[in-house]
Structure formats: structure tokens, C-alpha cells
Amino acid sequence: MNKILTLIAILAILGGVLAACAVPGGGEAPAGGEEEKVILIGAAVSETGKYAREGGDTRKGYLLWEEWVNNEYGGIKVGDERYKVKLIMYDDEGDPDTAAKLTEKLITEDKVHFLLGPYSSGLTKSASAISEKYNMIMVEGNGASESLFVRGFKNLFAVLTPAGNYTESGLKAVADAGAKSVVIAYEDTAFPTSVAEGAQKWAKEYGLEVLAVETYPKDVADVSGIMSKFKDLNPDVFVGGGHFNDALLFIRSAKELNFTPKAMIITVGPSNPKLVKELGADADYVIGPTQWDRTMSYKDEYFGTAEEYAQRFEKKWGEEPTYQAAESTAAALALQIAIENAGSLDTDKVREALNAMDVVTFYGPIKFDETGKNAGKPMGAIQIQDGDIVVIAPESAKQADLIYPMPPWDQR
């Protein structure tokens, strides 16, 4: 038995030494040469795990900004000097423990100046608690849940429209077209819950009667119970809050139970071209909120118009930007503008600049309220028409009129 103790002790000491060597070596040494001024910006973003796909979009958005700001823009202006940006990104694997560890590592070992957010509300919650503790600014573009902004954090800023406003433009559009009643189904996790609470609020605002609200758990495989119940209520509008899987399930289930509301508003799925690819013609007439679309009329002096941003993105990555990519670039851009306005890398000054910010970017207006949410930006809405994703709201970016009501399943 004694031998085993010794074995363990020796192994542990060896391992500890190894780890001690490996940990500092793992992080990249901050800026070697003194002649070039560098701002270090860190982010822990999923490259693997359950958010691998969306995390990939986030990474591409950040990297696009880094390349642009260094090579084309010539570095961030701080006072009279130009600072290059060095972006340090790690893979959080979608795991909160890993996200916490990496955020801590970015702050305490890599000594980054500022942080950008991870993908998803949950991971943003883990990471922002740590950045708050170290008084580090984190600008994020991928955590929309309202519960992120009720914790009283001073250093968390989000450029995206919060989840509560996701359905606003869609509900307004269908209410204007004559809808009277609505039913809501949502996955009972942080982001969809915020969406559904917002939907109830906006439905009331636009004079729609909420007939029923139903929840379902994550990764549900069958929603026919919810759909038959809804069919019985015969509502004008169906609102579904959830993720990509759920959009597939809702549309499938509605068709096979012949549940035909006059409009279906579903989050996350419809704005993604992959939904049309998977569902084909069944996806037609579905309405979805969108944070951003390349056809929107916003523009700025940095990336130009939304369309120009999309082209730049396509040139670099060979694929169309999703709104997740655009909002990530926008988060980085907002940080850049704040640093330039502050003329300093000092956290307090940059925070003041963020609080005072009121700009319009290729992604839309950015103006943070006292909790750090982007209060100024309206949410767009798209509808799938004949297999194409077209913007139907807001008015300024509209490509086509809303088709309402949607034709019943058997008359298509």
C-alpha cells in the first residue's frame, strides 16, 4: 500500500510540475516588441461541443473584424497613436466550467485589455461574472437573454436586440394585417423564455389575445400534444420560441396535424437558409425574427453598408454571413469605437464611452441603456416566400410585403 502512495505522490508532483510549465506556456506571450503598440482582446468561443456551429459563426465575425482593423483600417486610434489588435481566442467546448477557466486565463494570464463575449446566453452568464469580478469590460453579441442584464453588472455590454423584443416586429406585422389571437409555445430555457415573455407583452401591446402559452423541455422529440391543443383553439397566429430543431418540429407537426394558423412566427430557424434546405416547400410562409440581414439599409464609415459587409464576409469565408456572425463583428466594432472615443485603454474611460455611445453601424444603431442592453436597435422580421428568405420588417429594409394569411396545408 505504501508503494502506491509513493507512486501517486510522485506522479502528482511530476504532473504538477508539468502543468505548471504548460499553463503559462500555453497562453501566448503578450506583445514581444515594444515598438508596436498592441491591444489584446480575448474571447472564449465554442469551436467544438453543442454550440460548434454558432460558435464558428461568432469566431468568423471576430476574425473578420481583427483582419480588417489591422490591415485595412491601420489599427485602433487611441489619441494620436495607432494600436494593432491581437485577438486571443480559446475553445470553451460549450462547457461552463471550461468557459470560466478560459475567461479567467485570458484575464489573469494573457492579461488582455478587453473581452468579447462567448456564444450563447448561458456561457455569457458564466463568463460575465468573472469579467465583472476583475472589472474587465466585456462586449458581447451572442447572449440575448434578459436575465443577463438584471444582475447589475457594470461591465457587460450587448449590441444585439434583447430576446424580449424578438417577436415585436413580426407580431406588429401580423396585427396590422388583421390577426386577432395568438398562441405561444417555447422551450423552457433562458433565451426562449425571454422571447415568450416578450411575445406576450407585445401581443397585448398590438391588441392580440393570447389564447394559450405552452412550454416544452430541451431536445423534445414530439410536440403533437401541444399542436393538437392549439389546433383546438384555432388561433390566428402561432409563436414558437426555441432553437433550430424546434423550428423543424413545429412545422412538421403543424402540417401532419393539419394545424393551419394564419401565420407562424418561429425564432432562430427561419432566418437560417438551412431550414429551407431541410424542409423544402413546407417552410414557406413561416415568419422569423432576424437581428440583421444583408438587405437592411444600415451603413457606417467602417464596413460600409450591410451588403458590403456581407460581400466582404463572403470573400473571406466563402459563405453568407449569418446574423450571429454580423452581431459578433458589431460587438468588436462597438468596442473599437468606444476605445477611440475614450482615447484611452483605461477601463473606466472606455466604460464611460460605451455608456455614452450612440452610433449607427452596418449592423444597426447601437445605444446602450443603463443595464448594458442595446435599447436602440429594432428587430427585423423575415418571411420565407417561395424558398427565399425576404425581409418584411422594418419598413426601411423591407423587400416584400407580408403574405397573410398563409394558405392551408392542403391548398399548396
Binding site: 412550454t215 414530439d222 402540417k255
Partner: protein, 294 residues
């Protein structure tokens, strides 16, 4: 009333699917005493098989069964020979851990190959028709029909054919079966092949109605436990009964509990599992092997 009828019908459709989904799991457990924690992953492989055949060759998912089942039979046969055979004679813990490792490996392998994007097979006939004021979903009704057909065929196979009798003999008493000249090793490999083929077929059948993604498996494995616990091991009527009970419980709760019905349904299916194990460990129907309790 209409809603109740519709809910009962939906529950039966779901129950029929559960019954065919659980067969492979129940057979492997009943015959070999191996609890296959990778059950859901084989279902996932079948679903991806149907998706690939549909996307690449345009083959209908129900027709693709003719390709998927033989291929997966081969996969199961080989897998039993190289891997499962090593753990059949060993305690349950070993086979639990091995199939658990297999389930993690398979799900993540498919995640690398197919990415986490959910897929689905958009068949053209996925609508519905009306009978007596009830909405009848076409694909799910086809699944129910096929499920009953498969169960009947399997029943006949096990009862009437020589091979089927060998399988039952090996399940009941391995040593006695050996004495009367049954090649237990070969019978096990064939059984495993059949079970995997059935599981993959269930996966292919569900491909037009549910999202397909690499991590879809574990909930099915858990439900397979519940159904087996309800219906007893290795028996086809048991699988049917267990599937129907679960399908009806889930659907009725989802339809009639306001607000959180779907959540309650899913919670109930797992609470049911624990309760049945605790209160009636031999299942509602006795199986090939009785579940033992001290």
C-alpha cells in the same frame, strides 16, 4: 371529446413507434443479457442512413429500409463478433460500460462527420387526411402499420423458424441450448445483427417526422428502458404494451395539462421508469428472463 379522441389517437401512433423502437433493445437484453446503452445511437445511425440515401439518391425513407436493414445487420453481426462477444459472458457492469463508451464514441463521430446541424427528410406525402373528424397524419400512420407488421414478422420468426427457436433456446438456457447442439456464438451474432437492423429501421422510419442530429440517441435509450421495464424483457406483446402505455401517458399529459403538459409528460416517463423498477421489477408482463430482485 374530439380533442380526447385525437389525443388518444396521437398516443397510439406514438406508442406504436415506441414499440418498434424498443424491439432491438429488448431482444439484445433478453437473449444475451447485454444492456445496450448505445441503442439510441444505432437509431441515430439509421436515421442518418435514410437521410443520406434520400439526399444523395432520392430514395424514399421507407424504401431505404431495404438497404439499411441488411447493411446494419452486417454491422451488428461484426460488432457482436469483435466487441460484444467479449463482454457477453461477463457481468452486466462490463457490458454497460462498454456500450456506454460505444454510445459516446458513435455520437461524437457522427457529430464530426455530419456536424450538429439538425436534418430531416422532407417526403412529399407528410400531410394528413380526415376520418370521422380526426386528423390522421400520413407518415405516422404508415410507421404504425409498419411497426405492427415488423412485430408480427418477428413473432412468427421467433416462434416458427428453426433459427428463431434456437434464439429462444439460447435466451432461456444457454448451457442447455449448447447441449442440444445450438451454436450459441453464432446465434448471438445473428440476434445482435437482427436487433441492430430493427433499431436502425426504427431510426429510418422516424426520419421524416423528427429532427435528426448526432445527440438524438440518449432520450430514446432512456425511453427504451422505461418501455422494457413496463412490458418485460424480450417479449413482443410486452414491447407493444409498454410502448402504448408510454405513448398514451405522454400524449394525454401533454394535451390535457395546461401550460407545462409536455414537460410533465417527459418527467412522467422517467418517474414511471423508477417506479416500475421499484414496485414491479419483473415488468407488467413477464419476459423471456424474469428480472430478479433480492
Amino acid at each position: 371529446m374530439e380533442l380526447l379522441l385525437q389525443a388518444l389517437f396521437n398516443g397510439i401512433l406514438l406508442g406504436g413507434y415506441y414499440a418498434v423502437m424498443v424491439l432491438g433493445f429488448s431482444i439484445i437484453w433478453g437473449v444475451m443479457g447485454v444492456i445496450n446503452l448505445a441503442h439510441g445511437e444505432f437509431l441515430m445511425i439509421g436515421a442518418y442512413g435514410a437521410w443520406v440515401l434520400f439526399r444523395v439518391f432520392g430514395i424514399d425513407p421507407f424504401l431505404s429500409l431495404a438497404i439499411i436493414m441488411p447493411v446494419m445487420f452486417g454491422v451488428g453481426y461484426v460488432l457482436q463478433r469483435v466487441l460484444i462477444n467479449r463482454v457477453v459472458e461477463r457481468p452486466h457492469l462490463i457490458s454497460l460500460l462498454v456500450t456506454f463508451g460505444l454510445s459516446i464514441a458513435l455520437a461524437n463521430l457522427f457529430n464530426v462527420i455530419f456536424t450538429a446541424d439538425p436534418r430531416t427528410v422532407p417526403v412529399s406525402y407528410n400531410g394528413s387526411f380526415n376520418i370521422l373528424g380526426m386528423t390522421v397524419p400520413i407518415v405516422k400512420t404508415m410507421i404504425l402499420g409498419l411497426a405492427l407488421l415488423i412485430m408480427f414478422a418477428l413473432h412468427v420468426f421467433l416462434q416458427r423458424t428453426r433459427l428463431g427457436r434456437s434464439i429462444r433456446a439460447a435466451a432461456q438456457n444457454k448451457n442447455a441450448a449448447r447441449i442440444v447442439g445450438v451454436e450459441v456464438g453464432r446465434v448471438y451474432a445473428i440476434t445482435f445483427g437482427i436487433a441492430i437492423a430493427l433499431t436502425a429501421a426504427a431510426g429510418a422510419m422516424i426520419s421524416p417526422v423528427a429532427p435528426i442530429f448526432p445527440f438524438m440517441g440518449p432520450p430514446f435509450t432512456l425511453k427504451a428502458f422505461t418501455i422494457t421495464a413496463l412490458g418485460g424483457l424480450g417479449r413482443i406483446p410486452g414491447a407493444l404494451l409498454g410502448g402504448m402505455v408510454l405513448g398514451l401517458v405522454e400524449t394525454l399529459l401533454a394535451t390535457f395539462v395546461p401550460g407545462v403538459g409536455t414537460n410533465v409528460g417527459i418527467a412522467a416517463s422517467f418517474v414511471l421508469l423508477v417506479l416500475v423498477l421499484i414496485l414491479r421489477p419483473q415488468g407488467l408482463l413477464q419476459g423471456l428472463r424474469p428480472m430478479e430482485v433480492e
